[in-house]
């Protein structure tokens, strides 16, 4: 959980300082994050079921969602992708000429 808060603190300030307006474009965020996260959550579910990785229950909130995936993992696949979007939006705000290729304009 601390790791997730760290990620939020590390990226969401871009929203205010650079006015990247990612949170305002929540529909585009959702449509970008959810399809990819769904794939990764399927991977997560498989890896947990196969014991590829496992978690220390003592160091977690202890809330486990569907497919034996802990709440933190679900949040991870929302927070980390949003941080990624904010990063590239922050970069293209500082370097607007890199935005040119974005829409082939």
């Amino acid at each position: 959980m601390a790791m997730l808060i760290f990620t939020v603190c590390g990226s969401f300030w871009l929203e205010i300082v650079f006015k990247i307006g990612v949170l305002r474009r929540i529909k585009r965020v959702a449509l970008s994050v959810l399809p990819i996260s769904a794939c990764f959550l399927a991977w997560d579910a498989y890896a947990i079921s196969q014991g590829h990785w496992f978690f220390d229950r003592e160091q977690m909130l202890g809330i486990v969602g569907p497919f034996s995936i802990p709440l933190e993992e679900y949040l991870f696949f929302i927070v980390v992708p949003m941080a990624a979007i904010m990063t590239i939006e922050g970069v293209t705000t500082v370097k607007p000429h890199w935005r040119k290729d974005e829409f082939g304009e």
């Binding site: 601390a2 790791m3 760290f6 990620t7 590390g10 006015k19 990247i20 307006g21 990612v22 305002r24 474009r25 929540i26 529909k27 585009r28 965020v29 449509l31 970008s32 994050v33 399809p35 990819i36 794939c39 990764f40 991977w43 498989y46 890896a47 196969q50 014991g51 590829h52 990785w53 496992f54 978690f55 220390d56 160091q59 977690m60 696949f77 980390v80 992708p81 941080a83 990624a84 979007i85 990063t87 590239i88 939006e89 922050g90 970069v91 293209t92 705000t93 370097k95 890199w98 935005r99 290729d101 974005e102 829409f103 082939g104």
Partner: protein, 114 residues
């Protein structure tokens, strides 16, 4: 399949999709690599935290065994695929005119029905 196999597959799919499926490859653009260079150290920090404190643990039989800052090397492929996939989707919707403008939540493209 172990973590290593799936990580390589996920990485390959993300790279192939970026190069050939999405018309405007992020992998050829400085905006992506600059963003990745910013994200990577943070991934090392958070991954190191999660693995060195044994919050997340890995079956030794599911990974190759090479560790970078305490985290399995496979995590780099995992993170790369996740970030590239999400950014590609973000660009995909942007190119289709969805919510391009940071100052407005409205879509401008006539093709977008919202």
């Amino acid at each position: 399949m172990i973590y290593s196999d799936i990580a390589i597959i996920a990485f390959s799919i993300a790279v192939m999709a970026d190069l050939f499926l999405f018309k405007n490859s992020l992998l050829t653009r400085p905006a992506f690599w600059t963003s990745y260079a910013i994200i990577l150290p943070f991934q090392f920090i958070t991954n190191w935290w999660l693995t060195s404190k044994n919050i997340v643990m890995y079956d030794p039989d599911a990974i190759v065994g090479l560790r970078i800052f305490s985290a399995p090397a496979e995590d780099l492929l995992f993170g790369f695929a996740l970030i590239l996939g999400v950014m590609d989707m973000w660009e995909f919707w942007g190119r289709r005119g969805m919510q391009r403008d940071p100052r407005s939540s409205k879509s401008k493209d006539k093709n977008d029905k919202n």
